[in-house]
Symmetry: C2
Subunit: 201 residues, 2 copies
DNA sequence: GGATATACTGACAAAATTGTCAATATAATT
DNA sequence: AATTATATTGACAATTTTGTCAGTATATCC
């Protein structure tokens, strides 16, 4: 006589979160090839059928993953902007950190895989951020001629640079400035460039 | 009686290039999921066995792909640097173009997939480029205090920004500045920032 | 023109991967 | 305590994908 198999019964939300989190971790570690239902299931300690039960499809899982990654980026960036009275250096630092830890990799891969997924978020988010920063810059330098468009492009530059740095920076910096130290030095240099731009002209 | 099947017999180099090129095209189009031996074979008009014959493994193919992508980037960047007497705007434009057309996507994906592949190239390449540009900047502005390190980081910034822009820029610019026009406006703004940095202080 | 090397193919094997479905265990409800 | 709803599993099917191997066609060399 066989023992009845012990089961953990989660709430749908818990189950979905467990699956999504382990999937994200797997992507960050193993890369694109890591997204196999069986692998995710094995890592999460569940059967792969459960994933299909909660997301219907492999495609459904991917969709959910893009949305979660997008939301995570938004949270991190808004958190970075939340401290109103900090130096530009610190702000830049936090923005760069927002993309680190595998999030950039996930976003990149998901972007390639699901070209039109999670469309609305990033653009409006960048708009909000640019507006907030615009007011802050005006307050900081009352005399200067700071336009809204300049702020917008500045935010864009920081975003794409942080993205590129997280994704390919270490590779480009190999040798002399590889590793953590080089990354930090680049950030400070970049912060100085921005500060120069804010003051100059 | 059956007709003997007509065959094309290429040189090993030709065959390898045919396979690599169609594979790169497929990745750019279909994304990571597109790299299946059968699909590549079908698109190239060959049998999938031939791929295995020339690259031994799927892994061997991936390795070759990373090297080719890396080499392609190098070629494009060196070509961009080759015109010695052009405005910074044009130079920036060509660097950004170097990452366009799916190359950034391929590099990103291959980077995630084969974390230590094609290691040596980019770093030394960036070094060469930085040196060339350093001399050019010195010649252009004899009086200024331009350091080698500043040039190095400038090159790094342009590289990661171009990379990020190619990969995620369109997404971030959705809405107001989406499309081609926004991309161009960002480039000109960025060029102005660099020019300002070159002249100022 | 015949022999040789090898690029190339087709069929097959083996493994993996997504998806289906019926059965079961567990929590909540009555 | 019995009933109900459903989260979870295991077995199975179907398709796909990588890889193997023996044989065939084609160019080159003697």
């Amino acid at each position: 006589m066989t023992e009845p198999t012990r089961r953990v019964r989660r709430s749908p939300e818990q189950a979905r979160r467990l699956i999504l989190d382990t999937a994200q971790a797997l992507i960050a570690r193993t890369g694109p090839e890591g997204l196999r239902l069986q692998d995710i299931a094995a890592e999460a300690g569940i059967s792969h059928s459960l994933i299909l039960h909660h997301f219907t499809n492999r495609a459904g899982l991917v969709r959910a993953l893009t949305q979660q990654a997008s939301a995570e980026l938004k949270d991190r960036l808004l958190a970075a902007m939340a401290q109103p009275e900090s130096s530009p250096e610190d702000l830049l630092d936090r923005v760069f950190d927002a993309f680190a830890g595998g999030l950039a990799q996930r976003l990149a891969w998901l972007a390639v895989m699901d070209p039109d997924g999670g469309v609305e978020e990033p653009a409006t988010m960048r708009h909000e951020i640019a507006d907030t920063l615009y007011k802050r810059r005006l307050a900081a330098a009352p005399g200067r001629a700071i336009t809204r468009e300049d702020t917008q492009w500045l935010v864009h530059l920081v975003a794409v640079a942080a993205f590129g740095e997280a994704l390919y920076g270490a590779r480009l910096r190999r040798g002399a400035n590889g590793g953590e130290a080089g990354a930090r030095r680049f950030r400070t240099w970049f912060a100085a460039l921005i500060r120069e731009h804010n003051q100059g002209h």
